[in-house]
Amino acid sequence: MDKKYSSDTDGQRTYVFTSAQLSKIEAVLTEDLLDVGVHSVTLIDMAGNIISTMDNGENKHDLYSLAALAAGNFGAVSTMAGLIGEDEFSLLFHKGKKENIHFSKVTDEFLLITIFGKEVSLGFLRLKVAEATEKLIGAL
C-alpha cells in the first residue's frame, strides 16, 4: 500500500489519502457495512470534510451538508458530555420512521456516519460498526 502522509505547516494539518488507502477504506465500508444491509456509510473528519462515502445506489442524500451537520452535532454532543462530567456518550443514534442514523467516533479526528433502515437492528449495526472501526483505524 502506498504510504499516507500528513503535513503540518504553519499550524495547519493536511491529510493526504492515497488511492490505495482509499481503496482499503472503501472495501471495509462495503464489506462490513453495505453488504449487511445499511443504506449508506460515510467516513468524515471532525471538520466536516468527507473522506469516503459508499451507498447502495438507492439513496440520494446531500452528503456534504450531512457531513457538516454531523461534525457539528458530534462536537456539540461531546461538549455537552464534558459539561456533565462525561468523557463522551458512547451511543449517538437518531431514529426515524424509515431511516436511522448512527454516529461513531473512529479516532479523535474521524467519524463514521451510518444510515440504515429497519432491516438492520441497532445491536447488530453497533457490532458491525465496531468491527469496521478496528479495520479503519489500521487504514487511517
Binding site: 499550524g11 489519502f17 471538520a47 470534510n49 457538516a68 457539528g72
Partner: protein, 201 residues
C-alpha cells in the same frame, strides 16, 4: 484540516467567516449563494434562532473548478456572532483552513470588532493554530452606509485596530449589495489553496 483525495484528485478545504454579531457574515454567504447558484449543487444550510440570528452555523459548499489537476471543493461556514455563543464558535473553527474576518464598519461597533478578533485569536490557539500564520482576509463591511450619512469607522482606524500587526489583505465591502464580496472570497480561497500547494503532487 484540509483533505486531499489522491484517488478522486479532489481537495476539500474549510473556510470560516468570523466576526461580531450582525456584522454581515451570513449576508456574505447569502450573496455568494445567489451569485453562484448554478455552481452550487445543494441548498445553503442554516441553523438559526427564531429571531433569525445564526444559532450554530451557516454552511455552503462550493466547487470552484480545477487547480493543478485537482477538483477544488470549498466548504464555507459562518460562526454565530453573539457573544454568548463562544463555545459554538470554537466548535465551528475545528479544522479550519482559512478565515475571513468580517468587521462591522459602524462607528458604534468599534469595540465589538476588537473583542471578536481577540476571541478568534484565542479560539485558534485552542487548536494550536496561530492567527498570524493561518490564511486570513479582513473584510470591512457595510461601507455602502457611508452614502447614507451613518457614522462609520474610517478604514485607517479599522486597519489600525485590527490589522496593524497581521498585515493581512483587506477589502472594503458591502455584503448586502455585493461590492467586494466575491473578491474577498476569491482572495481567501487563493491563499488557502496556496497554503496546501506543496501537498498537491
Amino acid at each position: 484540516m484540509a483533505i486531499i483525495n489522491l484517488k478522486k484528485k479532489e481537495v476539500q478545504a474549510k473556510i470560516v467567516y468570523y466576526g461580531p454579531g450582525r456584522g454581515g457574515k451570513t449576508t456574505n454567504l447569502e450573496y455568494i449563494y445567489k451569485k453562484f447558484r448554478n455552481r452550487i449543487q445543494t441548498e445553503m444550510v442554516t441553523i438559526k434562532t427564531h429571531g433569525d440570528r445564526t444559532l450554530f452555523f451557516d454552511f455552503l459548499p462550493i466547487e470552484i473548478g480545477r487547480i493543478k489537476g485537482y477538483d477544488i471543493r470549498i466548504q464555507l461556514y459562518t460562526v454565530p456572532g453573539q457573544v454568548k455563543y463562544e463555545s459554538t464558535r470554537r466548535l465551528v473553527l475545528r479544522g479550519v483552513d482559512g478565515i475571513v474576518f468580517v468587521a462591522d464598519s459602524l462607528a458604534v461597533r468599534r469595540n465589538e470588532n476588537v473583542l471578536s478578533l481577540k476571541s478568534l485569536t484565542e479560539n485558534l490557539a485552542s487548536y494550536k493554530k496561530s492567527i498570524s500564520e493561518i490564511p486570513l482576509v479582513f473584510q470591512y463591511n457595510k461601507r455602502d452606509l457611508l452614502n447614507e450619512g451613518i457614522p462609520l469607522l474610517p478604514v485607517e482606524w479599522l486597519e489600525k485596530d485590527l490589522n496593524s500587526k497581521l498585515n493581512a489583505p483587506s477589502f472594503e465591502a458591502s455584503a448586502l449589495k455585493g461590492p467586494k464580496v466575491v473578491e474577498t472570497m476569491k482572495k481567501i480561497i487563493i491563499m488557502t489553496i496556496d497554503s496546501l500547494r506543496k501537498d498537491l503532487t
